[in-house]
């Protein structure tokens, strides 16, 4: 997995970012104006491992900020900013303090936010919340391929929920998404 040090190395030549990271170190609240402007200030080019420059820069800005500013970045973020916070969460030294952000994202009806809430940081979600989130993905048509550790975590209660969902869909003459069907078959064998 990509680490903060990888991102630092990749963006070491971005002078504007380097200056801004210094600014945030001196004055943490400056992140409130810099975080939203990341795309315009540092660029949006794709980097390696599925990161873009603005996402990586946002992760580094958050890594240099107190937890309160991380929570504010999400609270006041537009969708791209919220996605960047969710992506950065597993890299940040904030323990469980980011869990309410996942819960917030999972309450939305925005497929991008729901999908982003089920990355590696979702290991910190309680099993009940995680199962509901997976079921919500199936319901919304969010591909399960993006769910971190899906196959390891899929347990009997999730299987029951999926089976009930599939029965309901079949009764209505509607299709069951293939990835959900596959997961169901696979957990039935186990």
């Amino acid at each position: 997995m990509t680490t903060l040090d990888d991102l630092r190395t990749t963006l070491a030549g971005n002078e504007r970012l380097t200056e801004d990271l210094d600014r945030v170190r001196e004055k943490p609240e400056a992140v409130g104006g810099l975080f939203p402007a990341a795309g315009r200030r540092y660029g949006r080019e794709p980097l390696t491992d599925g990161w873009t420059t603005d996402e990586a820069a946002r992760a580094l800005l958050l890594a240099g900020s107190p937890t309160e500013e991380v929570l504010n970045a999400y609270r006041y973020g537009d969708t791209a900013e919220k996605l960047a916070v969710l992506k950065a969460l597993p890299l940040l030294p904030i323990g469980d303090d980011g869990v309410p952000l996942l819960e917030d994202a999972l309450r939305t009806n925005d497929t991008r936010l729901v999908a982003a809430a089920l990355g590696p940081y979702a290991d910190r979600l309680e099993p009940d919340a995680w199962r509901q989130a997976v079921l919500k993905c199936v319901f919304m048509g969010v591909p399960l391929a993006g769910v971190h550790r899906l196959h390891e975590r899929a347990d009997a209660p999730l299987k029951d929920m999926l089976r009930a969902f599939a029965a309901e869909r079949e009764a209505a003459g509607r299709e069951v998404p293939l990835d959900a069907r596959n997961l169901l078959d696979e957990t039935q064998e186990a």
Binding site: G32, Y76, D78
Partner: protein
């Protein structure tokens, strides 16, 4: 025909409206922050509203292939409520967003001292954030309200070419044009301004710096009046190029001054169409 509605409150509109707009050629909209009918009582309900017009509403619009940007401000009506004014301190966070292409709607409602203060403070924010400003002109006492708005704009030092004065009519258009600001016209179903009157104004004053919008919201309004105006222009003999200029290129030029207008992809924001719970009935 491609239509850019530079002023419409989609928060108050249904998915049927989005569908009809998309079917009629509306491909981009700007949603200014404004009053919701029910007065708000504190900054928290403003920030939830701002979050909605920079978050959920662009997502909803994207599902119909419509690009959605917003403008952010404390509106003049609620600037009069001391419980709401602290939201001014939260505006810089929102004015830094990629999807925010102007400060607005600012301006006057009843021309009170509190409105003076909020108007001037927010023009200063527009300068700080290098954003254009969308100025609502009052519906009552219109001529005086317009003159006073132009005075405040002049005093602020903002380039008039970065300001749009909205809800103009036959009485107020000349002074606004002389001041060098953009000329906004809101086309309503039966009062204020109609497509035919709009065409007459375009004949008299020309298409330069003219912005035509529906200003559709929770009141009696019609999101397709931009389209009806385009049709009325064509019927009156305006060229296709003139129609495109007024209904697309002018608003693009005005909001592009923010440096943030992104029309690179009006049909895809990366969210899956299949995952669209709005079209499919909720999750």
């Amino acid at each position: 025909m491609r239509i850019f509605d530079p002023h419409i409150h989609m928060t108050s509109r249904t998915t049927d409206d989005y569908q009809r707009m998309a079917d009629s050629g509306v491909r981009a909209v700007v949603e200014p922050a404004f009053w919701l009918g029910q007065p708000r009582t504190g900054p928290g309900s403003f920030t939830d509203y701002f979050d909605s017009i920079i978050g959920w509403e662009p997502f909803r619009a994207s599902q119909f292939g419509i690009r959605h940007h917003a403008t952010i401000a404390l509106n003049p009506k609620e600037a009069n409520d001391p419980r709401c004014r602290p939201v001014l301190d939260l505006l810089p966070r929102y004015l830094a967003k990629d999807g925010v292409v102007a400060v607005g709607e600012i301006g006057y409602d009843s021309m009170t001292p509190a409105e003076d203060e909020a108007f001037a403070a927010q023009l200063a924010l527009a300068l700080d954030h290098e954003l254009p400003a969308l100025v609502h002109t009052p519906h009552r006492d219109k001529a005086r309200g317009l003159q006073r708005s132009l005075d405040v704009v002049k005093e602020s030092g903002i380039d008039p070419g970065r300001v749009a004065l909205d809800h103009l009519n036959e009485v107020t258009v000349a002074a606004a044009k002389d001041a060098g600001v953009w000329l906004g016209f809101s086309i309503y179903p039966d009062t204020k301004m109609s497509p035919d009157r709009m065409v007459a104004i375009l004949r008299e004053y020309g298409p330069e710096r003219v912005l035509v919008n529906s200003a559709a919201d929770w009141g009696k309004s019609d999101p397709l009046l931009t389209v009806r105006t385009a049709e009325a222009m064509a019927k009156d003999g305006f060229s296709e190029d003139d129609v495109d200029r007024v209904l697309w290129r002018n608003p693009v030029e005005f909001y592009a001054q923010s440096g943030r207008l992104d029309l690179s992809d009006v049909t895809d924001t990366g969210a899956t169409f299949a995952g669209n719970s709005i079209l499919r009935g909720g999750s």
